[in-house]
Amino acid sequence: MKKETHPRLRELRYTLYRIFRNPSAIIGFSLLFIFLAVAIFAPAIAPPKYAHNPYMMPHKGFSPTPKPPSETNIFGTTSGQYDIFYGVVWGTRTAFKIGLFVVTIAGFVGISLGAIAGYYGGVVDEVLMRITDIMWAIPTLVLAMAIVVAFGRGLDKVMIALALVQWRWYVRVIRSEILTLRDQDFVHASKIMGVSDFKIILRHILPNAIYPVLIMASMDMGSMVITASFMSFVGLGAPKGFADWGQMVALARNYIVGPADDPLRFWYTIVIPGCCIILFVLSWNLIGDALRDAFDPKLRRR
């Protein structure tokens, strides 16, 4: 008799097949792979000048005018003579740090609260939901700015602020999934068998409810980087000279338009870090989009 593959394995394989059949996924994962490689091998690709703080971009002098790409500076330098190439490479690490930090914390808090609210319902649900409803009243960026102003400048404060604001999305998503799953027969069956609530949530409900969260998490990896880079752009995030893409665009702010005869002279100061941000976010969005198509039960097995 032929040994049948475990159904979960089969489903996983089918899901992976569905994900990778989608051209968006292929492009997304390829881009992500490149970024990952750059982030991991950053010390080798762009050796840090200040050993104690590799995130400080090296600069030869303080001249404000950016210099175009040359042999010493592959991507040129930006205002203050910071090497763009270095900033791009180490900025990849920063971007991953931001995304992972915010998504992990916001996700963890959001999922826990949402699961409890959704599963237990009643008073607990009401109270938790009212609190989250209050959080919804203010847009992400505005609230994050308010928190950063209260806590102080700095990339770490930005990350904390974003985490504090983003968890509300995860609560909502998880809660709505759990509300549908909670009444299903397999949950009732587990309860009757005496399985503890915690185990039910962890082993039965969450694996089913996790899909929209995964989609949201991958989209958030991108959008959090956008928000953080905007905060750096206005001066609330990374300090000057720190290897962060948003910060680099801030440095270029006065050089959007060059002298009258050559207005696009300093294009590289904006375009290069800008492209990094766009491509990074694009890769996560493509992945999220592919995941969404793969997980959509209506589109499966058409």
């Binding site: 968006s24 009212r130 609190i131 409803d133 209050i134 959080m135 919804w136 009243a137 203010i138 847009p139 992400t140 960026l141 505005v142 609230l143 700015m145 308010a146 928190i147 950063v148 102003v149 209260a150 806590f151 400048r153 991108g222 956008i226 880079s229 905007f230 752009f233 206005v234 001066g235 609330l236 665009v249 702010r253 959007i256 338009v257 060059g258 207005p263 696009l264 294009w267 904006i270 375009v271 800008g274 941000i277 766009i278 976010v281 694009l282 969005n285 493509l286 989009d289 209506k298």
Partner: protein, 343 residues
């Protein structure tokens, strides 16, 4: 339906209250000394920080300060804005019309474009039309607004020199400042004021300066709207009552528009709340890059200068906008969906 609306109204009042507590809580993370600094308007006052603390009761218990704050806010006194060099309340009304103007023109474009593109791409699913709109949506969603604005500025201002940043050209701005008796601010919206004052050139110039900001904003925000509409339409078209309509002999037009789209508008109405939030965030980036002195610009500048009262004011305003939008949407929802209306 009246009970439904009433329930929502009270709920939203509660939300407003909660928001104020939250914001006040954030404000309280400042030490009394830092908060005292907000009251300092002259250099000599800076030496008397302890006196200021005593005078304004900045180390009183939380709830006492909260009540005091609420009383002040309801009287319109929200502190002093460093950036504007005037009281926060006054400054707000100077900056608000600029933001309002752009949003007023951009919002219908975003809504109509989003619904139209979403419907079309949903009906012609999986054709090249659908795929190209999806690509457009994903790219739009991935673009940081501020970056896109910078690039547009670089190209259309730096290179082509067709447009320039700001709200009005320099000469007209100078003209308005120098000749207040010739130009009255009726609404604060430059396009409208220009017409009302009989100065068409002002209105046209204002429009000219609106083009780039609206372009930036629309491209980034339409993406969301379109996606929701698209998935709504796809979902609706697979519903059984669409089949019934087909079996009745309905033509494609009736099916797509009368049956599918109307039902698909419901989730769009739901997401409209999110759109308002997004539009606020988009406004911030657009105003900062294009140097338009609206609420978003004010927010960013004040944040850079760690000017807390301004942030509090804007957050409260956001809360109000949220409440008002939700109420409107709830009414709209009840109107569209008879199941809610007649319950």
């Amino acid at each position: 339906m009246p009970t439904y609306i009433l329930r929502r109204f009270f709920f939203l009042i509660f939300v407003l209250f909660g928001v104020s507590v939250l914001l006040f809580g954030i404000l309280m993370t400042f030490s009394p000394e830092r908060r005292a600094a907000a009251y300092v308007t002259t250099p000599q006052q800076a030496k008397d920080i302890p006196k200021i603390i005593k005078k304004f009761g900045l180390d009183d218990p939380f709830y006492i300060q909260y009540v005091r704050w609420i009383k002040e806010v309801s009287r319109g006194n929200m502190g002093w804005s460093l950036v504007a060099s005037r009281p926060v309340g006054e400054a707000f009304w100077r900056y608000f019309p600029i933001t309002l103007e752009m949003n007023l023109y951009a919002a219908p474009i975003v809504i109509i474009l989003g619904i139209w593109l979403g419907t079309v791409s949903g009906i012609h699913r999986d054709t090249w039309l659908d795929h190209s709109t999806r690509i457009f949506a994903i790219i739009g969603w991935s673009l940081p607004t501020f970056l896109f604005a910078l690039v547009l500025l670089m190209v259309f201002y730096g290179y082509f020199q067709w447009f320039s940043p700001g709200v009005l050209s320099d000469q007209l701005t100078m003209f308005i400042i120098d000749n207040p008796e010739q130009f009255t601010r009726y609404t604060g919206l430059l396009t409208v004021d220009g017409i009302l004052n009989g100065r068409l050139d002002v209105a046209l110039d204002a429009f000219h300066h609106l083009v780039l900001p609206i372009l930036t904003y629309v491209i980034v925000v339409v993406a969301l709207n379109m996606r929701v509409m698209r998935s709504g339409i796809i979902e609706e078209l697979s519903k059984d009552y669409v089949m019934t309509a087909m079996a009745k002999g309905a033509d494609k037009r009736t099916i797509h528009y009368k049956h599918a789209r109307r039902n698909a508008l419901l989730p769009v109405v739901t997401v409209a709340g999110q759109l308002v939030a997004m539009s606020m965030e988009g406004s911030i980036a657009v105003e900062v890059v294009y140097n338009r002195h609206g609420i978003g610009w004010w927010l960013a500048e004040s944040a850079t200068q760690l000017d807390m009262p301004v942030l509090m004011c804007i957050c409260l305003f956001m809360g109000l906008v949220f409440v008002a939008t939700n109420l409107t949407l709830d009414i709209l929802y009840a109107y569209i969906d008879p199941r809610i209306r007649l319950n």
